[in-house]
């Protein structure tokens, strides 16, 4: 009874073995498939890079140097990329005086240069909307005006990221590639973003931009003072947004859009400092936020002089 292995049995056992080996090999090949996605511009370090908030000091240092060498290789420019952390006791707020904005778009232009935007698309984190006086209907606004400004009967409303305290874009991100920092700025880890664009769809202010292609920008136009979470040149296929110029503001400087404003319509500062300009505006002007009914709790405020 024990030694009755028939040729039939042997055949089935072999067939099962072969099947098992084939399945195993196929599974292994499938498992190794991501390796095929490796291209010249994707190094092992990038492939294995962790989320920004999980990086150790040394790992982050290596990542920053890699960003610099990548920029040198792709764009031919020596840049300085750093990690600028939020300041203790600082929460940023921004206010804009609609009575004096003339719609010149100098803020959008300054953003374009400061944040190393794609030159072909004139990309900027700021859209200036030309609105009918007496109306707050954003749907009837026009962002592509190209006549002399300010035009009679119009007013101008620049819109950028409102750095919401209850940010819909942060909630919808399936991989937590975007989050709110302690100073109120909503940031994106461009190396963690999977490019699903959920955040772009969720934002009621149309404040996020998607990099359909890798930004095209001449070496001499690149702003070399960069930071990981803000104005370093973004890769293709990721979402980007206004960061209140955190590489400037976290060092105490004013944002680029404010410095460019020829009418002084913009007021920026620390909400936690009772003597700051932004606090004076919030306490003394009739301030409102965009789409308040959505409950997004923006940190960007608008006001009229009278």
């Amino acid at each position: 009874m024990t030694e009755q292995a028939s040729p039939q049995n042997t055949g089935r056992r072999r067939a099962l073995k072969v099947l098992g080996a084939t399945l195993g090999a196929t599974a292994f090949a499938a498992a190794m498939e991501p390796l095929k996605a490796w291209t010249a511009d994707l190094t092992l370090d990038q492939f294995l890079q962790r989320h920004y908030r999980e990086l150790t000091k040394d790992q982050l240092e290596a990542v920053l140097r890699r960003v610099e060498s990548d920029t040198k290789a792709k764009y031919g420019k020596d840049v300085h990329c750093e990690d600028v952390r939020p300041m203790e006791g600082v929460e940023f707020g921004y206010a804009l005086n609609l009575s004096v904005c003339i719609g010149c778009r100098k803020c959008a232009e300054a953003c374009h240069h400061e944040n190393n935007h794609d030159r072909r698309t004139n990309n900027s984190y700021i859209r200036v909307i030309e609105m009918e006086q007496g109306s707050l209907d954003l749907e009837k606004g026009n962002t592509t005006y190209d006549h002399a400004v300010p035009a009679p009967g119009k007013y101008y409303m620049p819109v950028q990221c409102q750095q919401c305290d209850n940010a819909p874009c942060v909630k919808v991100c399936p991989v937590q590639a975007t989050w709110k920092e302690s100073d109120g700025i909503v940031v994106v880890d461009y190396d963690w973003c999977i490019g699903c664009r959920y955040c772009e769809a969720a934002c009621p202010y149309h404040a996020r931009r998607f990099n359909w292609e890798a930004p095209e920008i001449a070496a001499e136009d690149i702003n070399p003072e960069q930071s990981y979470l803000s104005n370093r040149i973004r890769p293709q296929g990721v979402v980007e947004k206004c960061t209140f110029c955190l590489h400037r503001t976290r060092k105490g400087k004013l944002p680029a859009c404010l410095e460019a404003c020829p009418t002084g319509a913009r007021v920026f500062g620390n909400l936690l400092d009772p003597d700051s300009e932004i606090r004076w505006v919030l306490e003394n002007k009739r301030v409102f936020v965009l789409k308040e009914e959505l409950g997004t709790k923006p940190r960007f405020f608008y006001f009229f002089d009278n």
Binding site: A27, F28, A30, A31, E33, P34, A37, F47, L48, Q49, R50, H51, R53, E54, L55, T56, K57, D83, R85, P86, M87, E88, V90, A95, N97, G103, C104, R105, A108, E109, H112, V128, T144, Y145, D146, H147, A148, V149, V175, S182, W192, C193, I194, G195, G252, K253, L254, E259, C261, P262, T263, G264, F268, G269, N270, D273, W280, V281, N284, D305
Partner: protein
């Protein structure tokens, strides 16, 4: 093992953009591969707290008000070597020959300042300028004489709300640091933005028209409409 697996799953997230679809088995297998790669790369060290930058301390830096050229010089018709019109200081003419009697209106000017446009309420030259030395001195309503660079004191007499907002940083542009414990700030003078003789901000052509992809089809119509009303402005905008 748990740690390794957690590491593997986070890396998987980062790779979703590079992978397209696949059955559950494949995902699990990919995960295991990642665990293996991670173990090899030794990336499982615990993240460290990278801390925060220090809070703003005392405001040791100052806020300075810009002194515009306009207060001490006028444009001439000569081209400067750096491009743009050469500016000539008021005193370079007026010190040599001394000012004439100040006219009542801009249209009364006979030499040099000819063609000068004045649109600032019902003011007269002498409302602001000193009678004896109009090129160098202004005066307040009290009669107190002030030097040209202190022109803001003269403006503030009528434009109280603007002065109040300015004093609180809510009117007028600035450059430099919001945090005065780290650096100084330069604020615009009234006269930087407003020509005291014609203070309304003039119309200008906007810069940087958006070129969003979805606007490509809409743009021609709009450009045509813009060109019809403001040909010069739209032209200059479309040819950066």
């Amino acid at each position: 093992m748990l740690l390794t697996f957690a590491g593997g799953s986070t890396v998987t997230q980062s790779l979703r953009s590079r992978w397209h679809g696949g059955c559950f088995c494949a995902v699990v297998l990919r995960c295991l591969t990642c665990c293996l790669l991670l173990a090899l790369a030794g990336c499982n060290r615990a993240p460290q707290d990278r801390g925060k930058a220090p809070a703003p301390s005392s405001k040791v830096f100052s806020t300075n008000i810009h002194g515009p050229d306009r207060l001490v010089s006028v444009k001439s018709q000569t081209e400067s070597s750096r491009g743009g019109p050469l500016r000539v200081t008021c005193v370079s003419c007026h010190s040599a020959r001394g000012p004439r009697k100040m006219p009542k209106q801009a249209s009364d000017l006979k030499e040099f300042h000819v063609g000068f446009v004045f649109q600032h309420g019902n003011l007269e030259c002498s409302s602001c300028h000193d009678d004896a030395e109009p090129h160098r001195l202004l005066h307040l309503a009290t009669g107190e004489r002030v030097e040209m660079p202190q022109a803001m004191r003269v403006c503030a007499q009528c434009h109280g709300p603007q002065k109040r907002d300015y004093d609180h940083g809510a009117h007028g542009g600035m450059n430099g640091y919001w945090d005065l414990s780290r650096g100084s700030r330069v604020r615009n003078n009234c006269v930087d933005c407003h020509d005291p003789h014609k203070p309304a901000i003039p119309q200008s052509a906007p810069v940087l028209p958006p070129r969003d992809r979805y606007l490509e089809h809409a743009a021609p119509n709009h450009a045509a409409a813009g060109a019809a009303t403001h040909p010069s402005a739209s032209e200059s905008v479309r040819n950066p």
